[in-house]
């Protein structure tokens, strides 16, 4: 076998980092005895098994040890109250159909906007390809989803760009108590809206947007390692002071 590799640009070497927790696999026994099954865990008698590829986490909640699996991958699964970034894919006389990066498109009804929209006049407000920050209004048992644009921060978005990362990595982008995203915002001076659906809207200086996009990719690929905050700060030209500030944010009560 003959192999030729042409590297058009020098690629930086990846570093070896510390894992954030034990990686478990669907079907793997994660605990036995007096526990509570949390997310992505099922029990069979007093045995608990993982149902998703992820990191095992045991937390004491109200005196009971709860086992959760923190997923490392997976598509966006809408939940009521989630902030999402949607892209208009179709219009009806009383609704806009949004792609929310979920399994099915989500309609936004004209009454769920801050505007007074006349029947059939939906095209005046949104065109196909337009973008909005929305909230999941409800999801029924058969996966029907509706979104709303009524609420603080929910609006049509202009300018900037959307970056999409794995939705399972969004919590890492936000960071504990919003520490990570606050640091990214302050270092990049970009406006950023993080959707739970894996879409992130970034607006600001073009070079800064590029830097933020790169940092987000980095977080996505390294979410299961520790030491992210310091790494992200460095990549955005920040220093120890920024990491310290992020740490304070994350431990704020």
């Amino acid at each position: 076998m003959d192999k030729v590799v042409i590297v058009m640009e020098k690629i930086s070497a990846g570093e070896i980092k510390q894992l954030k927790g034990e990686i478990v696999i669907p079907g793997q026994l994660v605990a036995e005895g007096a526990y509570r099954a949390g997310r992505w865990v099922y029990r069979d008698g007093d045995r608990y098994y993982a149902t998703k590829l992820g990191l095992k986490e045991i937390r004491n909640i109200k005196g009971k040890n709860t086992i959760n699996i923190i997923p490392l991958s997976g598509k966006y699964d809408p939940k009521e109250g989630d902030l999402v970034i949607g892209i208009v894919m179709d219009l009806g006389p009383t609704t806009w159909l949004f792609d929310i990066n979920g399994p099915n498109p989500a309609p936004l009804h004209i009454t769920e906007t801050p505007w007074k929209v006349d029947f059939g006049a939906t095209g005046r407000y949104f065109k196909v390809g337009d973008v909005a920050a929305l909230k999941i209004l409800y999801k029924d048992d058969t996966s029907h989803v509706q979104v709303t644009m009524k609420g603080p921060g929910l609006k049509k978005l202009h300018g900037g760009v959307i970056t999409t990362i794995a939705p399972s990595k969004i919590p890492r982008v936000i960071g504990r108590k919003g520490s990570m995203i606050a640091m990214i915002k302050s270092l990049s001076k970009c406006q950023i809206i993080v959707g739970q659906n894996g879409r992130i809207w970034i607006s600001g200086d073009m070079e800064k947007i590029r830097a933020v996009e790169e940092v987000l990719k980095y977080i996505e690929n390294h979410s299961h390692f520790s030491g992210l905050t310091a790494e992200v700060a460095e990549r955005l030209g920040g220093g120890a002071a920024d990491v310290e500030r992020a740490r304070e944010t994350s431990s704020r009560r």
Binding site: M89, G160, V161, M206
Partner: protein, 266 residues
Amino acid sequence: MHYNVISELTREYIFRLAEKGKRRDGRVLDQFRDITVETGVIGTAEGSARVRLGNTEVVVGIKMQPGEPYPDSPDKGVMTTNLELIPMASPFIEPGPPGAEAIEMARVIDRGIRESGALPLEDLVITPGEKVWVLFIDIHVLDYDGNLFDAGTIGAVKALETAVVPAETYGLGENHPLKLREIPISTTFVKLGKAIAVDPTAEEESVARSRLTVTTDLDGNIRAMQKGIGGGFSLKEVEECIEKSIRFGRQLRSLLWEIERAGKEE
């Protein structure tokens, strides 16, 4: 159909970046992505190559079997290029027989090889008028992140170059390598806003105004061209693309074939 939903603001951002000479993945406009080529990857094929161009990945296999020539060309073998845009490769591909897009790509790749004389069909004759080699170039797209024209062409040429004619299997003498007489290289450009970028990603292709593929040979001649997508190119832009395609052709040949000069190697 699963639609490729691209936001208008992302399109504008990509155009604005391109007009400043930049791209979302950090490349400049005149830059190919990294290329990895492995040959001899499929044992059941007469020749094969696996090409990774950035996140695009194709496997090309050559199959040969004896058959009859076409009545109107009794002294020529038969070559068919087929490209399978399988649903594995992208969320926007549906299962089913090759659509217009896959057929266009296969035909453009085929033209580059056929018209450049890389593999003269006369070379595929066993008994004139009676028996010829029927050769299939099957391009299997595994991961689609744009620019299948160029990845497919590199893969097809590499697979042909390493192919061994299975003469023994059919009692037709000794196995022997297929002789390649030319190295056609295609270069694909897209128009992003007012700028022109080479080797587009899938995202760039989906927002592009228009697309142009130019296939060149060792001597710097043009052997195939194809313009695609709704928009157009000015004459000046086409001339620029041609000029660049000759340059990229030389570069890629020197990197992938270690051919430094722009002359035929025999």
